[in-house]
Symmetry: C2
Amino acid sequence: MRCSHVKGAQAILETLHRGGVDTIFANPGTSEMALVRALDETPGVRAVLGLFEGVVTGAADGYFRMSGRPAATLLHTGPGLANGCANLHNARRARSAIVNIVGDHARDHLALDAPLTTDIEAVAEPFSVWVRRIEEPGDAGGDAADALMVARERRGPATLIVPADIAWTEGAGPVEPPLVAARAAPDAAAIENAAKVLRAAGSRAMLLLGGGALDSQGIAAAARIAAATGARLASETFNARSARGAGRPFVQRVPYFGEAAEAFLAGVAQLLLVESRAPVNFFGYPGRRGQPLPADTAVSTLATPAEDGSAALIALADWLAPGSAAPLPSLTLPERPQGPINAVSFAAALARRLPENAIYCDEAITAGLALPAVMAAAAPHDELDLVGGAIGDALPLATGAALASPGRRVVCASGDGSALYTIQALWTQARENLDVTTIICANRVYAILAYEHLQIEGRPPGPRALPVLSLARPAIGFTELARGFGVEAVSVASAEALDDALDAAGHRRGPFLIEAIFEPMSLPAARR
Amino acid sequence: MRCSHVKGAQAILETLHRGGVDTIFANPGTSEMALVRALDETPGVRAVLGLFEGVVTGAADGYFRMSGRPAATLLHTGPGLANGCANLHNARRARSAIVNIVGDHARDHLALDAPLTTDIEAVAEPFSVWVRRIEEPGDAGGDAADALMVARERRGPATLIVPADIAWTEGAGPVEPPLVAARAAPDAAAIENAAKVLRAAGSRAMLLLGGGALDSQGIAAAARIAAATGARLASETFNARSARGAGRPFVQRVPYFGEAAEAFLAGVAQLLLVESRAPVNFFGYPGRRGQPLPADTAVSTLATPAEDGSAALIALADWLAPGSAAPLPSLTLPERPQGPINAVSFAAALARRLPENAIYCDEAITAGLALPAVMAAAAPHDELDLVGGAIGDALPLATGAALASPGRRVVCASGDGSALYTIQALWTQARENLDVTTIICANRVYAILAYEHLQIEGRPPGPRALPVLSLARPAIGFTELARGFGVEAVSVASAEALDDALDAAGHRRGPFLIEAIFEPMSLPAARR
């Protein structure tokens, strides 16, 4: 496009396109119609419709995690943005770059307090690394370029508010977004210092990996370091993307529950952070410290989240053990599981049947408690976790990951409760014919909350509280929901049938859903 | 309860109960477990589970609109609150009192920036009339009492943030919430002045009713006033609750589209506001004023939204025309409709088959364009509209309205696109066995946006924009979605079948869904 005076909407889309954005996840309204029209004039940017804004933002997150390139979102005023905020929260915690385009009323209409008028900046701030409102039509291209640059530099959602009249008015031109420098590796002094502390602490040291340090090269280098120094190797509990599976070192996670995390970290005298933070419990509990690390553990940093942890690990491994190879665990896949579906048989079936080079999106929560150890023996894969804890992320994440990764099968496991926040993602999967297998772990209870109730109150929920945690009445028919959204589906209630269904799903094209009916949960008795 | 030192959670629930709150719509997480446990100790407050927070907040809105009593909500940290904000926006615009209880991390856990840490105040502010965080356990009862009082006084969502440790710590006591004075009627001077301006303007005056002025007594009095003075009678475009149907005066609405609203208001020399605001277009459009009222119209106020408009109308009618009766329109129900389902045949079937004393929740959008005139002849009913414009309100609203109104059938009509934001409401309807008939107007397009695109861009959407507005591929199976959530359903594709299905639905108990397949939409050609 050579024209320097186009409508603001077109300047925005063309600028993003020049900056490498090819996908815009959209759920627009009236104030975004000029932006929708601009799609007709910007063939390099493709819109993917979501039926709900949480699908849109979660898909943009998954798209970034797999492609490394930001997608845009298109959202409608404050309420539309609010609907997308839970998954923007997850994206921000996962350090995923996203450009949110949020339409607002025309400038002269704002003062009239029409019904949809909202303080969009206030809604955006808690979930964005950057927020700006375009003030004049001539700023549209430059502001879009800034949004893209900041999203990449600060690695998170950058929100650009676009008044409708700026989108429909001519007078803007597209701008060439500036390049963003690649993340630097730490300097030699940091490497040398890390080597020193690891050697001094020996087996009482722990390498804690997060972020980009969990790519396949990073964990291979980390395993060489561990072998050379005796240090233990661990990752954060939930990770934006981690290379896992057979042929790769096994990296244990810091456990979710505070009590287990304390046991896991006991005896660690030296914690070396690599794109990670010192562990913090997900929630506070009565009488328990919020940080599970021993109070006298020394903490040092090999790479901050803004640095290239994988490169740092390679440099450190080459310093400590030049020419060494990563020791690999000897793991075997479980036998074909039998009997009822529970956390153990589910993990066995999933690990056995995970397709080669799959992308695994995890929001199985309590149903997935047995997964980490078993999935280490599965075919090599990338795992995407719920990093921010706002449930309802996995199905959208899988949607965006699949769009970013043609030719790779995405397998998504979700609790039944958590799947229902953004179940509309299935429709986008059907519409785009995405290679996604969704497994619903249907235990028919917010099981994590039953555990948490026990942790906090020292007893299981009573007769008036329990219904608030139960999904049993009426039982939710996920195969019917899937078919309603255009996705084929099957329901299984035995481990054998689950194993078969996963086998078949791995050879399909297009989306598929498996409802796995778990055996009823038995709550532990009161603790105190 | 006599104990003055109970856990904060219990103090909150007991205080709300003493203040008349009997229902709490809930979608809790870990930080709310003490509040969930407190349900076991507060038998007067019943929790109703929603699978998604937008269901929770929309249901609380519907509950208030029908009962006049605030319900509480129970939401989980910033992301959970954000998921509920679109329908809190609608509730705020509808002036519905709600007490939001939002759990947060324990106080000493907040500084650790655990994954779910968010600026809850910032999320709540744009959608609340009041926000407070409980600072100390001893404040729990008093803060809950304040929240309830403010929600009632300011008529909107009051948000109380409850750190988890305050909920689980003893040291609080319940508090007796203060009574809130009933809304005053305007004084005699206001009545006299209104009489004067109406008499002076004659048929060039318009009474514009909103809020509580639209109850059956209010509109009857307004019709007496109109008959006595020649003034026209109108309501705001969308209303929280309005008495409609046979045996009641017909109150026309200000049309939605600016062009039509200008035509409707042309020639009005004197506008008298009764719990309403001077009309503002829903959106701004290129080259069109945002206010459809003629620039030289004089605007005066009989009752502000904070006053009792219905009482004011009665006083004014008695002043102007003592002893008069409201003239009633002579309206007949349409014949049984035939052929394809479109806005006209849909309106005919709905009006013919609306059960006596039904509650009608409207979010039919373009599918409902023919409703207002025809529904005036339907059985008497209360209509609840989407007041704030954040779509995805009708199904939750119907859910809460049904819970508040045992023995009355709720009929809810929603566009297919808008139903998909909060479709999870169906499950709560099934679980609670609510008498709700949901009609999905399945035209398989965001039809309003196709119109708006034409208004703003002067032409229909082109080949790359159109897919962003289309819901046709794949077609969504609403009967399957309904069954998945435990609600019986039928799909109809002719006006006759719709008429029959509505007839049958009116005699049922429990929830039911009718998918009405509309004939394909034909977009008008380009305007400019």
